[in-house]
């Protein structure tokens, strides 16, 4: 069995790594990682905007964002992907590569999740910071920009890494709309070999495990570092982050 696995890796490592790249779209692990990095990079600014909107007192800003957050928490990502597959070409008026469809869906989905993380970080800071900044003459947005967000975003870095890990895991769902990612490459190999499905999917699981496990370790280490740095306010922060962990640490 182990020799089978080694043989598969030796024969197909390039397909697993970059898909059929020079002759086709970029695929494999490279596509998975690119999709996750781009998704989180676009979702990050979106999430800050959503968090600020959800914290604002104006119901016009507050209400639609709350609805979006409940929507993404209540509907399976798979369903959102199908929506994206249907709506994105309709809106852009052209046929769009499935990679892009998946990216848009992930930005919306993880943007909503991340906005809860950012909001948690802002709320955990307490009123005092905002009041002090306003008293010193900052405008609301100025206080957010220079006082609140730098602290809040720093504190939630571990949760952001957790969201990144679940984004990597979520990219596998692109399989249903044929996004050429790592899972797709593995099922292609499986279709060519036909006789060794266990070995192929074992390799797939192992690759995901190594990536996500290392990133989770990074999250834990960063969390420890941040807790040490903020030892004074740590007692209050852990109570809040317990609740946050339940939200960010979702199976996917």
């Amino acid at each position: 069995m182990i020799s089978d696995i080694i043989a598969i890796i030796r024969d197909y490592w390039l397909l697993l790594l970059i898909g059929q790249y020079p002759n086709g779209p970029l695929g494999g692990l490279a596509a998975t990682l690119m999709l996750s990095v781009l998704a989180i990079a676009f979702a990050f600014p979106v999430s800050i905007a959503l968090a600020l909107a959800r914290l604002s007192k104006s119901p016009l800003l507050n209400w639609p964002v709350s609805a979006l957050v409940y929507f993404t928490r209540g509907v399976p990502l798979l369903m959102l992907i199908l929506w994206g597959y249907f709506l994105v070409p309709l809106v852009t008026g052209a046929s769009v590569p499935s990679f892009l469809t998946m990216l848009v869906t992930l930005v919306v989905y993880q943007g909503a999740f991340l906005s809860e993380v950012v909001r948690g970080g802002i709320v955990a800071l307490g009123h005092g910071q905002m009041e002090a900044a306003r008293a010193l003459g900052h405008s609301y947005l100025g206080a957010m920009r220079y006082v609140i967000l730098p602290q809040a975003l720093y504190n939630v870095i571990p949760s952001i890494i957790s969201v990144f890990v679940s984004t990597i895991k979520d990219t596998t769902l692109g399989y249903v709309i044929n996004v050429p990612d790592l899972t797709f490459a593995a099922s292609q190999i499986n279709n060519q070999l036909l006789t060794q499905p266990f070995q192929v999917f074992f390799i797939l699981a192992a690759v995901y495990y190594v990536i996500c496990w290392s990133l989770s370790r990074v999250a834990v280490l960063t969390e420890r570092r941040i807790t040490r740095k903020r030892a004074g306010t740590a007692a209050q922060a852990t109570a809040k982050s317990l609740k946050l962990a339940a939200l960010t640490d979702q199976p996917s």
């Binding site: 509907v75 199908l82 339940a246 199976p251 996917s252």
Partner: protein, 235 residues
């Protein structure tokens, strides 16, 4: 493209029965894997507290695998991989008994057990050790202190996380479509193929998922409130 018309789907008995079958299968998979996950989670929790390093190491490895490998890949490994390694007799039996659904329940249940057991563990850890000492000092045996003092508080602490993960388990039951289980997402794809009413069918199923998820959240919030002696007015 014809205009928006939900009655095209809801008025067609064939589509309605497909939807109902899909809902039924979604609940079979979700409830089946929930029960499996909770049972395994309690076993894993027991192993965590068992003396000696072996149980603890096993649970750590179990949780680590199930949290760091995508659920979809776990399902594929079960259905496409492990299924083919099974002895012939078992394979035939499974094929006669909706093997897809059985593997969806196994895959989702095993994955979710890791999350549930971690929720329960962090709930238990949040109970101060002084509680156990006080219960022992008042004459409780270890087991009865666990039964009457520690576990009630621990599960209460774990409730919000358990509810959250129950909702995500329900949502994840949609992944079963990738291994061919005829659940709700499968039904919507079928209906869409037959009726060409993409928008209407997606909208309908999205609303169904949303309503069921919100129902689980509401029931969960009610249970959490009832379990809290302060908020339910029993203390």
């Amino acid at each position: 493209m014809s205009s928006f018309d939900l009655s095209e789907i809801l008025g067609n008995p064939e589509y309605v029965s497909m939807l109902l079958l899909g809902i039924e299968m979604t609940f079979v998979v979700a409830i089946g894997s929930w029960v499996l996950a909770m049972t395994l989670a309690l076993l894993l929790l027991g192993l965590r507290y068992a003396p000696g390093p072996v149980g603890n190491a096993f649970v750590t490895a179990y949780v680590s695998y199930h949290r760091n490998v995508p659920t979809l890949v776990q399902l594929m490994l079960w259905y496409f991989g492990i299924f083919t390694l099974m002895p012939d007799g078992l394979t035939f039996w499974l094929n006669d008994h909706n093997a897809e659904a059985i593997f969806a329940v196994i895959g989702l249940g095993l994955c979710q057990a890791a999350y549930f057991s971690e929720d329960l563990r962090s709930g238990m850890r949040a109970v101060s050790p002084g509680q156990l000492e006080a219960a022992r000092a008042l004459g409780h045996s270890y087991v009865s202190a666990m039964r009457f003092v520690m576990v009630p508080q621990g599960t209460r602490n774990a409730l919000p996380a358990l509810i959250n993960h129950s909702v995500s388990l329900f949502k994840n039951s949609s992944l079963a479509v990738a291994i061919g289980v005829a659940e709700l997402t499968y039904a919507v794809k079928e209906i869409e193929n037959l009726s060409f009413r993409t928008f209407e069918s997606y909208l309908l199923v999205t609303i169904l998922y949303l309503v069921f998820s919100l129902m689980i959240m509401t029931v969960g919030a009610y249970v959490a409130r009832r379990a809290d002696p302060v908020r339910s007015g029993r203390a």
